[in-house]
C-alpha cells in the first residue's frame, strides 16, 4: 500500500461536532503536514508536526503523531460549515523535501 493513507475517505457531521481524520504511513518521516483543499481549489497549509513532536495545536486544530504506529490524526473541534473541504496528510521523509500526499478525507459539515 501507499505512503499516506487517510481514513475515513469521507466524513459527514453536523456543525458543532468534532471531526477526526487519521493518516497512516509506511516509512520513517522527518515531518508530517496537513493540508486543506476546497473543491477544485489550491492547497492550504494547516499544520506541520515534526517527528520528535507528539502533539500540536493551532486554533481549533489538534494534530497528534505516533511514530511507533506510523500514524497521525487531525482533530477539528466545534466544526463549522466552512470547514467543508478535503483534508490531506503529506509526509516528508529524510534526505528529501518532497511532500508525499495521502488520498485525503472529504469532510462535509452540515449547518
Amino acid at each position: 500500500s501507499q505512503q499516506g493513507e487517510e481514513d475515513p475517505q469521507a466524513l459527514s457531521i453536523q456543525e458543532g461536532e468534532n471531526a477526526t481524520m487519521n493518516c497512516s504511513y509506511k516509512t520513517s518521516i522527518n515531518n508530517l503536514q496537513w493540508y486543506r483543499q476546497n473543491s477544485g481549489r489550491g492547497l492550504v497549509h494547516l499544520i506541520l508536526i515534526r517527528s520528535n513532536e507528539r502533539e500540536k495545536h493551532s486554533g481549533r486544530l489538534r494534530v497528534t503523531l505516533d511514530t511507533s504506529k506510523k500514524s497521525s490524526s487531525l482533530l477539528i473541534t466545534a466544526s463549522r460549515a466552512a470547514d467543508t473541504a478535503s483534508y490531506f496528510c503529506a509526509t516528508v521523509q529524510f534526505n528529501t523535501d518532497k511532500l508525499i500526499f495521502g488520498t485525503g478525507t472529504r469532510l462535509q459539515v452540515f449547518p
Binding site: G4, N30, N31, Q33, Y35, G40, R41, G42, L43, V44, H45, L48, R50, F88, A90, V92, F94, T96, D97, K98, L99, I100, F101, G102, T103, G104
Partner: protein, 115 residues
C-alpha cells in the same frame, strides 16, 4: 500575507502543443516545487528546484518537462509536447527554508486541459 500566485488559472491546449505554466513564489523563498493532481487522484510531486537547478524530480518528470527561473520572481513549468494524460491541476509551491523542516506554501493551481 504573501501568497504564491499562478497563471493562467485554466489553460486549454491541443495534444502535441507546448504549454508554459507560470508561478510567482513568495518573494523571500528559496525552494520551489511543482506538483500535479489528476482529477480525483492524489497530489503528486513533480520536481523541486533550488539555487537555479533541479534538486529532485519524480519519474513523471520526463524529458517533456522542464523548469526555469527566468528572472528573480517567476518560476515556470514547460511541457514540450502535451499528451492527453497531462490533463491535471498543476500546483506550484515555495518554501522559505529547506523543505526538510519548513512548510511548503501552495499556489491556487493551473488547470491544464489537453484536447
Amino acid at each position: 500575507e504573501p501568497e504564491v500566485t499562478q497563471t493562467p488559472s485554466h489553460q486549454v491546449t491541443q495534444m502535441g502543443q507546448e504549454v508554459i505554466l507560470r508561478c510567482v513564489p513568495i518573494s523571500n523563498h528559496l525552494y520551489f516545487y511543482w506538483y500535479r493532481q489528476i482529477l480525483g487522484q492524489k497530489v503528486e510531486f513533480l520536481v523541486s528546484f533550488y539555487n537555479n537547478e533541479i534538486s529532485e524530480k519524480s519519474e513523471i518528470f520526463d524529458d517533456q518537462f522542464s523548469v526555469e527561473r527566468p528572472d528573480g520572481s517567476n518560476f515556470t513549468l514547460k511541457i514540450r509536447s502535451t499528451k492527453l494524460e497531462d490533463s491535471a491541476m498543476y500546483f506550484c509551491a515555495s518554501s522559505g527554508g529547506d523543505g526538510y523542516t519548513d512548510t511548503q506554501y501552495f499556489g491556487p493551481g493551473t488547470r491544464l486541459t489537453v484536447l
